[in-house]
Structure formats: C-alpha cells, structure tokens
C-alpha cells in the first residue's frame, strides 16, 4: 500500500514536472522542472530495485547533463526576445491532440492483456542484490564490455565534435562545451 502511495506520489510529480517543463518559455525554469521530474523518476527506479541506476540518473542527468544545459543558457546570455512570440492556439491544440492520441494508443497497447501474468500483475520476487552496484558492474564489465567500450568512442566523438563546433575560429583559444 505504502509502495503504491509512493508510486503515485512520484508519478504525479514526474509527469507534472514534465508538463511544466515543456510549458515554460524560460529554459532555466524548464531545466529546473526537468530536474524535479528526474528526481521523481529516480524514486521509481528505486521501487523497481534499480538502486544503482537510479543513483546514476541523478548524478549523470542532474549533475552533468542538465548543468550543461544551464551552462549553455548562461553562456548564450539568453533573453526573452530569443524565444519567439506566441503560438497559434489551433496549432497548439492540434499538437496536444496528436500527443494525446499517441498516449491513448500506447495505453491501449499496454492494457491489452496478451501476457497478463507478466505485465498485468505484480512482478515476481527478485534476488536480494538485484540492481546492486556489484551485479550491474559485473554485467557491464563482463558480458557487456563491448557496448560499454563503444560508449567510450561515442563520448570521445562528442567531445571532439563539441569542441570543433563551439570553438570560435581564430578569435579565442578554447571555449569548449
């Protein structure tokens, strides 16, 4: 019961903050709402026995990625006039309708009880250390060493690319992102 209350609490915050995020005109506020949403999602991760990844979610997303966003916003020194004027009401309504349809379709799919014993009911109990650092790490560095190593290349590419793009040619030395 308590689980369910926590779930609903976190879920409402996660979705509510997400909605607020996309409603903002000021990206700084958006970033903050996204942080709230992600923290709420981290709670849900914990409920799913994903302690380690939940922690990473907060550390990587809020700690690194979103800070990067904030940093860029500050760097560009964005003001109101950069964000554009008002949208047409019709356009907005139709786009909301589109996403509502998307959501309805997805719900319809998840509600379809093709595999009831697996999706519909509670999950079976799992091992004590499910989702622990050791377990994830042993998977990551043994079975999944290969994709893990690939991410290193990916990050290197991102660094090179960000430097190349964001660097001002000839004027300043370095200004990496």
């Amino acid at each position: 019961m308590l689980d369910l209350i926590i779930f609903y609490f976190a879920a409402v915050i996660a979705v509510g903050a997400a909605v607020m995020m996309i409603m903002q005109r000021n990206p700084v506020a958006s970033v903050l709402y996204l942080v709230v949403s992600l923290v709420a999602q981290a709670i849900l991760y914990v409920q799913l026995n994903a302690l380690f990844v939940g922690a990473l979610l907060i550390i990587i997303y809020t700690g690194a990625i979103l800070v990067l966003f904030l940093f860029v916003i500050m760097l560009l020194n964005l003001r109101g006039e950069h964000f554009g004027g008002k949208q047409s009401r019709m356009g907005r309504a139709s786009k909301i309708a589109i996403t509502v349809i998307l959501f309805a379709e997805m719900v319809a799919i998840f509600k379809q009880v093709a595999i009831p014993e697996r999706i519909g009911t509670q999950a079976a109990a799992v091992a004590e250390d499910f989702g622990s650092v050791e377990m994830v790490a042993s998977h990551l560095f043994k079975e999944y060493l290969y994709p893990f190593e690939l991410t290193s290349i990916l990050l290197l590419v991102a660094i090179v690319g960000a430097v190349v793009l964001a660097k001002r040619d000839k004027t300043e030395k370095m200004e990496d992102a």
Binding site: I98, I101, L102, E105
Partner: protein, 649 residues
C-alpha cells in the same frame, strides 16, 4: 553450331570507343573512316555468318555464341549470348547493311556540321545497340539493346540542341519510350516468373510455353499485351506514337536510319520473335491487329495534309509500321518481317532523298516552297521516284510484294477479317496519294523557292548519291526474295523464316490458314489487281490535283475572275472534285492531326506530365523548412501507422 558472332557488334563498339574517347582529337576523315569501316566490317561478318547459316540444313539453322554468364542468381540465369537464326540473320543484314549505306551518306550530309565527331560516335553506338538487340538470345539482353537504341535515339534527336524544339523532342522520345519499356519489363517479369527463364530457347519453346500457360489464359494475355505496350512505344503505334513525328528534329540520316529503317522496327521484331507466345493469346493478337491497322489508317490520313516533307515521311513511317503490326496480328509474322525489310530499303531511301533535297534547299523543309526540282537534281529525283513507286506498291517493286502479302494475309488468315483488309486497302490508297503529292509538290511544277535558294540548288555530291542509288536498286529487287505462289514464286522468304515461326506452325489454326491461302488462288489474284487499281486511281488523283490543276486551282482564284472560269471550262468540275474529294480529305486529315494527334493523344501525354509536375509543386508546401513541422509529421507518421496496425492487426 558455335561461331564467334560477337564479331558482328564488336566493330561498331570499337568505333564508338575510339571516336568517343578521342573526341575532338581526330580529323573528319579519320572519324568517318573509323565509323564507316566498323559498320562495314559488321556487315561483312553478318554476311559471312549468314552464308554459314544457309549452309546448314533447314531445321538446324541456328548459330550460337555464349559469352559469359551475365546474371547468375540461382535459378535466375541469364547469359550474355548471341543467337543467329533466320530471323535475326535477316535483321542483322538489314541493320548493318542499311546502317553502312547511311553512314556513307552521312559523310556528305554532315560534312559542315560542328558536331561531326559526336554524330558518328552516337551513330556507331546506335548500330552496336541495335545489333545487340537483334542478336540477343534472351529477353534481358534484348532489353539492353532496346534501351541502348532508345538512348541513342534521344541523343541524336536532340543533336541540334540549339533548337529548343530539338532537345524537347529528344526528351519526349525518351520518356514516351520509357512508358513502353515499363510494359516490356513487366511482361518480361511475367514470362520469367512463369517459365523460369528469359532465354528464347526455353521461354519460347512451344512445349515449355504450352506447359506453363493456358492458351488464351489471363497470364499469357497480360504478358503479351504488356510486351506489346513496349512495342507500341518503340515502334510508334497508337497511343505511344507521338514521339516519332517530333523526332524529325534530328538530322535526316538519323531519321532514315533510326526512325524509319531500324530502331522503330524493333517492336515488330520483338513480336515476331515472340510469335510462340503471341499465338497463344488470341485476344492479344486481335489487339495487335486492330492497333496496327488503326495506326496505319490514322497516320496515313494525317500524312495527307502535312506540308513539311519530313513530317509526311514520319507519318508515313508510322502508317507502314502499322502495316507490319497488322501482319503480326493476323499471324503473318513472316509477312511483317518481309515488309520490315523492304520498308527499310525504300523508306531509308525516301528519307535520304528528302535529306538530299533539304540539303540542296539549305534546310528548307516546307514543300510549299519547293517544286521543279526534277531538273535540278536528277539522281535524287529518280531514286526518290523509285522509292515512291515501291512504297505505293506498284507491281514489280519490293513494296508490292510485301504489302500485298500483308493485305492478302489479313484477308485470308483466320486471325484476319475483311475489315482489316479493307482498312489496309484504303490506307494503301492514301499512301499512294500522299506520296505522289509529295513527289509532285517537290519535284514537279513551278519552282517556288526564293531566288537565293534557287541559285544554290545543286545535285548532291557523289558520297550522297551513290548510297541513294544502292538503296534504289535494293528497293526494286528487295521483294524478289518473297514472290508469292500465286505469281509463280515459292515465297522463299517465308520458307526461310519458317523454323523461327514455331508458334504459327504449332497451332492448328495456323496450318489451316496457310492451307486455305493456297486454295484461294483466284481470290488472291483479284484482290491483288484490285489494290493495284486502287493505288493507280489515287496516284492519278494526286496527279490531277497537284500537277494538272495546281495552276488552275491556285492561280485562277487569285488573278482572274469569271472570264477565266469560262475559258477553262473544267473549272466547275475541278471545283467539284475539290469540294467533294480533296477538301474533305484535307480537312479531315487536318482535323485528325489537330484534334486527335495534337490535342488528345499528345495532350494526354503532356497533360500527364503537367499533372505529375503539378503534384510535385503541390507537395512542396509540406516541406516548409520549419523544424516543428518535420517533427510533427514524423510523430504523426508513427501514430498513424500504429493506429492502422492496431485497427487491422
């Protein structure tokens, strides 16, 4: 029997490569030497293999030359291989022979053209492709040649691209041909799908064909109809003939070679080659015959009132091709090929003759500004006259034998009917009329050109007149290989082709038709005489209106009034003639041309282009350049597909 058949197309390919790669670095003499020698060598090798073929017994007249496996995908097995049987031997000789003559002619005709080297390069590529087409031993390789000749036709029609009409005409030819090619490809796919092969040896084996197709079944009808669509594109039949009259924008030797003698007959060749399949689809045969005869009379009637000398010949070509298809449609494939051959001679000659005239007239193509050229250009005139006599079917010349064969077969064959014969006969009359109209307007009467042109009128140089003479000889004697039984011959041409026409002899109906043909000797003779008489009448009519009375009809009205009418008592008779016969013909012809040709058929094809183009424009606003539109469309795409899947899945 295995022989190095590749030698036939090899030389034009070498010529093409030499001239193409060294473009702009060779002198004119060298270029023409390379081009003409290569085609000449092809012809010589063609002759050699032809005699090799003749030395074989009737039933085994096949020379093969397998080169290598082109397409090796499992059950898909297509070779690059050549096949010389009586049918392709005839085609090879016609193609390489006529090409050689026209190559020689071109040396003179194109002498002062800036694109001399380019011209011969394209021409050699054309000969190569055309030889591939006729020598191929499977449909796919044939299609390669088919596309190759289309490409060369495009390049050569648009040769004088400074004229916008020329480059437009080239593009039109290319696109219209592609519509036909679409049919050909699809028909080919069906044949492959059903028989498991594209080799003529397998796919056109009556035993194989009968084992996979039901006679008159939907599949064989679809396949043959689709291939016929391909033939209508390449051979300019209704509804895809529209490109051919426009194709006259190209140099005249090109019109002679590609758009009269060789390429446009590829469709006839293809159908004759596939006779086994066509004979199994009676519905298609009817379509072929009807389209053929309809095209014949339709194009013939348009030709009646054209004033551009080349356009008359272009519509005449369409009309004559209609004859060939009629022949195929009534199961007289050999007659179709026979006419193809004689037509290649006399129509090439007509075009070359007109080229000689145009050359002398400094590019003038309108017959209203010609006249009286007989004295000025005697060789051109005489050869042109021979060709005209041949095409109108005067007894003793080549056209007579082949045309008469077709008319007789369309009357007597089980696939034919008296209506087809009748329309064919009327077309023959029309042919006589417009051809002699052309001759009279061009070579007889007053010299209507301006004085400047008149001063420069000259007979063409030897390099042009000699080819004309050779073709004239061929136009006379070309028919003697196929003298019908009724005139005491034994139709050796048909006999020669017989091993290829397996479809005709396989079906009982065919045998029956042949047998009945032999019996109705007197009917055949009567019909023959009838058609000759009709032709003679129409020639007289042409004479009457365009020589005897052109002065009366034309000048009278302008200069003199009532007095003259009375002096020339015949005036009223002429008026009557004019009102009853000529005017309706001219008006009707113009009407057909303006309404059906230009407005409906051409309009339809152009309209399609415009509609598709407008659709293109209509699609553009969606590509608004705005990022959110793109993401929205992306997401909507996902949602819609998901929705469809959920509803139907």
């Amino acid at each position: 029997m295995e022989q190095p058949l590749y030698l036939i197309p090899l030389f034009p390919l070498i010529g093409f490569l030499l001239n193409g790669l060294l473009l702009g670095r060779l002198g004119k003499k060298t270029i023409s030497f390379i081009a003409c020698t290569s085609v000449g060598l092809s012809f010589l090798f063609g002759l050699k293999f032809f005699f090799d073929l003749l030395s074989l017994p009737d039933t085994a007249r096949i020379i093969e030359n397998v080169f290598f496996t082109w397409i090796p995908a499992g059950q898909f097995h297509v070779n690059v291989a050549f096949l010389l049987d009586p049918l392709s031997a005839v085609m090879v000789l016609v193609v390489s022979g006529v090409s050689f003559i026209i190559h020689i002619y071109s040396i003179g005709y194109m002498h002062d053209d800036a694109g001399y080297g380019r011209y011969f390069t394209y021409l050699n590529l054309f000969v190569f492709s055309m030889l591939m087409l006729v020598l191929a031993d499977n449909y796919l390789l044939m299609f390669v040649g088919w596309e190759g000749v289309g490409l060369c036709s495009y390049l050569l029609i648009g040769f004088w691209f400074e004229k916008k009409s020329a480059s437009d005409a080239g593009k039109k030819a290319f696109i219209v041909n592609r519509i036909g090619d679409f049919g050909f490809l699809l028909g080919m796919f069906i044949i492959f799908w059903q028989t498991g092969s594209l080799d003529f040896k397998t796919a056109l084996d009556p035993a194989v064909a009968h084992s996979v197709f039901a006679v008159g079944g939907g599949m064989i009808t679809a396949a043959t109809l689709l291939m016929f669509l391909g033939a209508t594109g390449k051979s300019a039949q209704i509804p895809l003939y529209v490109w051919l009259p426009d194709a006259m924008e190209g140099p005249t030797p090109v019109s002679a070679l590609i758009h009269a003698a060789t390429m446009v007959t590829a469709g006839v060749y293809m159908i004759a080659r596939s006779n086994v399949l066509y004979m199994m689809a009676p519905a298609t045969m009817a379509v072929v015959a009807i389209v053929g005869v309809a095209t014949a009379i339709f194009a013939g009637s348009i030709a009646l009132a054209q004033n551009d000398i080349k356009r008359v010949l272009a519509y005449s070509t369409v009309s004559q091709l209609g004859y060939m298809f009629t022949a195929c449609g009534v199961a007289a494939f050999s007659a179709g090929i026979f006419h193809l051959m004689t037509h290649a001679f006399f129509k090439a000659l007509l075009f070359l003759g007109s080229g000689s005239v145009i050359h002398a007239m400094a590019g003038q193509q309108d017959m209203r500004y010609m006249g009286g050229l007989k004295k000025r250009m005697p060789i051109t005139f005489w050869t042109f006259l021979i060709a005209t006599l041949a095409i109108t079917g005067i007894p003793g010349l080549s056209g007579f034998f082949s045309k008469d064969e077709i008319l007789w077969k369309s009357f007597s064959s089980d696939y034919g009917s008296i209506w087809i014969w009748l329309i064919g006969l009327i077309t023959a009359g029309m042919t006589a009329f417009y051809m002699f109209r052309l001759v009279f307007l061009t070579f007889y009467g007053e010299e209507r050109m301006d004085s400047h042109t008149r001063e420069h009128l000259h007979e063409s140089p030897k390099v042009m007149t000699v080819p004309l003479s050779i073709l004239a000889v061929l136009s006379v004697i070309g028919g003697y290989v196929g003298i019908p039984h009724i005139l005491g011959g034994d139709n050796r041409f048909e006999k020669f082709l017989e091993p290829v026409m397996k479809g005709v002899h396989h079906s009982v109906e065919g045998e029956h038709a042949l047998a009945s043909a032999a019996h109705n000797g007197s009917t055949e003779l009567i019909l023959m005489v009838g058609s000759v008489v009709l032709v003679a009448v129409f020639i007289y009519l042409a004479y009457h209106f365009y020589i005897k009375n052109i002065a009366a009809a034309g000048k009278l009205r302008q200069r003199f009034s009532g007095l003259h009418k009375i002096i020339y008592g015949k005036y009223f008779v002429d008026e009557l003639y004019n009102a009853v016969i000529v005017q309706p013909l001219v008006v009707g012809s113009k009407f057909l041309w303006k309404i059906f040709d230009v407005l409906i058929i051409d309009g339809f094809i152009n309209g399609m282009a415009v509609i598709i183009g407008d659709m293109s424009t209509g699609l553009r606003p969606a590509q608004s350049g705005i990022l959110r539109t793109y993401t929205t469309i992306f997401l909507v795409g996902v949602i819609v597909i998901l929705g469809i899947v959920l509803i139907f899945g």
